[in-house]
């Protein structure tokens, strides 16, 4: 498989055009994806990547343009026709039945025949074969909700393969994975490619693009602006192509100037709904004017810690103090009144009401503030004006406060949350995964804002599974493993040291 011999194209998109009202999401897109290759697509938030893939998968219909699969023009009306044409999609938000087993999920909708028993036996065999061929081990009888996210994703891939997918689309697949899970996913993708499958990978992580793709295409504001052989490009070039200017991949920051302790956690223990201890006797302080980062592999108690501090989850023992005063019993509204802002990890379930219009979300949690209304009433004009200001300042696209939040791209949704929490000018800011699904230009922007908060004397607590992010922002780093803080390092700590601590190996 030399790169020079022209492979036949698996997919050709010719002149694809799509508008949503006034938003021109895809402008006359041409794209050729070679058979048996991994093709990366990158671009800023709202560039139109997901829209393009949704057209290929039949979720949307293009206004103009043609789709050719293996040289033949096809009309893809819905996901069924896409599957019939050999296209499979792994959604960022998995489409699995949580309380079904792996096998049941894989079979669902493709049971084959009237008698379930017969179908089950042959499906089990086929599933086993797929798992062995592609290194996608999962227990066929495990119930989905009990599987780690990485394995759930494998089930999504198995589902597509089971339906005979020759082309696999993955839209930001690593956002929810631990580094080890991501590595495994890439191994699987390579095996799939080597067996002749075609893979389209959308991601914001240029490192992943460099590591795994053969070719990479760049989208900007609805247009396809460049396609490069991965071997012949660099991270810097790609970043510039995406944003149209040079990007700081690591934000400059001066020395911290820590002041008084604003937020303290004392012997905090938090249990999850099943009674399992998730945060185990954790203590630390955050001072005014410093960023404390909490590093750790996802699922080691960081989420529960954040929720406890934010007042969403009741700790089972221990104390949280703000300005030296215990805040047990305060709910999130009470804590906001004390000047605590919270950018939650999960914007879809917590940070936003996706069915609301943008301006409604830009006051969520602060809807009692005097500037948004008088007495029991909301002042819609004031809300919209305020939202417009944030949209302009944070470059949220499209700049329309009346658009449904679900219709913003992932990264722009995140900016809505960040703008809301930071613009309130809080005293303390707790942040979970601030840049999940956010493009590099916006990451630079959000990182700058976080550092500005620090320099303005706010106490910032940052949780992220991105070690790079923790290292480039934090003044002090706490490492969490299995619910405990297993060590503290300065912001300059090396990747290696932190990595070992995160794996629970060294302190």
């Amino acid at each position: 498989m030399s790169l020079d011999s022209p492979k036949e194209p698996a997919i050709e998109l010719v002149g694809i055009d799509k508008k949503f009202g006034t938003v021109h999401a895809n402008k006359n897109i041409n794209l050729t994806v070679a058979k048996g290759s991994i093709h990366g697509i990158i671009g800023e938030n709202g560039a139109g990547k997901s829209t393009l893939m949704s057209i290929l998968y039949g979720f949307y219909q293009a206004d103009h343009g043609e789709i050719r699969i293996s040289g033949k023009p096809v009309t893809i009306r819905d996901s069924q026709t896409a599957i019939a044409a050999g296209i499979g999609m792994v959604h960022q938000h998995f489409m699995l039945v949580e309380n079904f087993t792996v096998l049941e999920n894989v079979m669902l909708g493709a049971e084959g025949g009237q008698l379930l028993a017969k179908g089950v036996a042959s499906a089990r065999k086929e599933l086993k074969r797929l798992e062995d061929d592609y290194g996608l081990e999962v227990d066929p009888d495990a119930v989905i909700e009990e599987l780690p996210v990485g394995n759930q994703q494998r089930v999504e891939i198995l589902k597509a393969l089971y339906r005979g997918a020759e082309i696999l689309i993955l839209d930001e697949p690593t956002g929810v994975l631990t580094p080890a899970e991501a590595d495994h996913l890439f191994k699987v993708l390579r095996v799939l490619r080597d067996q002749g499958k075609t893979i389209i990978l959308i991601t914001h992580k240029l490192r992943e693009i460099m590591a795994i793709t053969d070719t990479v295409s760049v989208m900007r504001r609805g247009e396809m602006v460049a396609t490069r052989k991965t071997a012949e490009t660099t991270v810097e070039e790609l970043a510039e192509l995406m944003v149209g200017r040079r990007v700081l991949l690591r934000v400059e920051k001066g020395a911290a100037n820590p002041g008084a302790v604003l937020m303290s956690v004392r012997n905090l223990t938090v249990k999850d709904s099943r009674g399992v201890t998730m945060v185990d006797n954790v203590s630390f302080d955050v001072r005014a004017g410093e960023i404390v980062g909490i590093a750790g592999v996802a699922g080691n108690g960081q989420s529960e810690l954040l929720e406890a501090i934010a007042g969403i989850r009741k700790p089972s023992s221990g104390e949280i103090l703000i300005d030296g005063k215990p805040v047990a019993g305060l709910d999130p509204a009470g804590l906001r009144d004390l000047g605590l802002a919270h950018i939650p990890e999960d914007r879809h379930h917590m940070g936003l009401v996706l069915k609301f219009e943008e301006y409604e979300n830009s006051i969520l949690g602060y809807h009692h503030d005097a500037k948004y209304g008088r007495g029991p009433f909301l002042d819609l004009d004031a809300m919209r004006k305020d939202a417009e200001e944030k949209i302009a300042k944070y470059d949220i696209r499209p700049p329309n406060p009346r658009l449904r939040t679900a219709n913003f791209s992932g990264g722009n949704q995140q900016k809505i949350v960040v703008a809301r929490e930071i613009e309130r000018d809080p005293k303390m800011l707790i942040i979970g995964q601030p840049t999940r699904g956010v493009d590099i230009g916006a990451i630079e922007f959000i990182h700058k804002r976080i550092i500005e908060m620090r320099d303005a004397g706010k106490a910032v607590l940052l949780v992220s599974v991105e070690l790079d992010e923790i290292r480039s922002l934090s003044d002090r780093i706490l490492v969490m493993f299995a619910g405990k803080v297993v060590g503290e390092k300065s912001g300059e700590a090396g990747e290696q040291t932190l990595g070992l601590m995160m794996a629970g190996i060294a302190a």
């Binding site: 293009a62 009306r77 819905d78 999960d346 969520l364 809807h367 009692h368 029991p376």
Partner: protein
């Protein structure tokens, strides 16, 4: 599956699709009418003339509409907070007791317009009280509101039997009902409203509570879309996790929402009790609470939609009654079947036609 996410213009979503559903419902009802040997077109004509042909018919139609607006609003308010209140029937029934007690206490001393505000409050309070216990059980104990509100329909029914048969019955009379209210406890007829359009109200019981219903529509709209409380209700209704993140207290919103919902259901009693019969009678609600569910569903939980849907059901009720009178082979039960068709197509099967409409729309607009 894939068409659910396709955005359609508002006129298709709120105009064309409900209209098509309605046509479908009438089509199948027509088949039934035709099946028993009557002419469906003639039946439809009789129904429409019965409901809208004369002032008196219109008066009856709007009388039914009034009741359905109240119960439709009751269901809609709860749905906005993610609660399915099936107990509007019982809440309205108990609301009748509240209205009647006020009327009985005041009617011999003051004119109707003095009694009215107290009666509105009495009806609302009793309706709200009936919703309070299911609300508390949902908020604090996690008992499902659908189950508890249904159970309360039965509890209220038994309670009202007891009250009417043992307590409020006029001594020496057989009928389980209160005495007739004096004019000070009655709501005046809206004869002038019908007269404005050149009709005569005749025996139709259309009364002042129709105007109260319209005012409530406006107030509910303000509540849901213009107040902080409404914002909190909608947040909770769409995303309980976002609500908890935002510091919106679940139990508080559940309680307040259900009290408002129960209060609106209770006010429905003003219409039959103080407007039409001028006394509290057994089983006066007559299913209007359940119709409210269909009305709210059809009206997309929006006050404007609820008025239209309530009007539709008012037409079906009044026109249906006239129809079964004019075409004896079409019995009351047949009318119930036709109403059922409307509920089925316009409410439950709301999304049945959507994919086809989406496809057609895409083809016509070349998308």
């Amino acid at each position: 599956m894939s068409t659910v996410s396709v955005p359609l213009p508002a006129w298709i979503n709120y105009g064309l699709i409900p209209l098509l559903n309605l046509i479908l419902a009438f089509f199948f009802s027509g088949l039934v009418v035709w099946g028993i040997g009557e002419n469906p077109f003639e039946a439809l004509q009789l129904l429409l003339i019965g409901a809208l042909g004369r002032g008196e018919g219109i008066g009856f139609t709007l009388f039914y509409t009034t009741s359905f607006i109240f119960t439709g609003l009751s269901v809609a308010v709860a749905i906005h907070a993610g609660l399915f209140n099936i107990g509007s029937e019982g809440q309205a029934y108990l609301g009748g007791l509240g209205a009647a007690l006020v009327a009985l206490a005041m009617d011999s001393y003051v004119p109707w317009y003095v009694t009215m505000p107290f009666a509105v409050i009495g009806a609302a309070l009793f309706g709200a009280a009936c919703a309070a216990i299911p609300a508390w059980l949902q908020a604090k104990r996690g008992s499902h509101i659908v189950i508890t509100t249904i159970m309360f329909n039965f509890i209220v029914s038994s309670l009202m039997n007891y009250v009417l048969v043992r307590v409020l019955i006029v001594p020496g009379k057989m009928a389980p009902e209160t005495r007739t209210f004096l004019p000070g406890g009655q709501l005046p007829k809206l004869d002038w409203l019908i007269a404005m359009f050149g009709g005569k109200i005749g025996a139709a019981p259309l009364n002042f509570s129709f105007l109260i219903a319209l005012i409530m529509c406006f107030l509910v709209w303000v509540l849901i879309w213009r107040t902080k409380l409404g914002y909190e209700m909608r947040t909770l209704g769409i995303s309980p996790t976002a609500a908890s993140y935002a510091g919106i207290r679940y139990s508080k919103i559940v309680m307040i929402t259900m009290l408002i919902s129960g209060g609106l259901a209770g006010m429905m009693a003003l219409n039959p009790v103080m407007g039409a019969s001028a006394r509290l009678q057994i089983e006066f609600v007559g299913g209007a609470g359940f119709v409210g569910i269909a009305v709210s569903l059809m009206g997309r939980n929006h006050p404007a939609g609820i008025v239209l849907a309530a009007l539709l059901f008012g037409i079906l009720y009044q026109g249906g009654a006239e129809l079964s009178f004019d075409m004896p082979s079409i019995t009351r039960d047949m009318i119930v079947v036709i109403q059922g068709m409307v509920i089925l197509f316009a409410g439950a099967l709301e999304y049945m036609l959507r994919p086809a409409v989406v496809r057609l729309y895409q083809q016509l607009t070349g998308k």
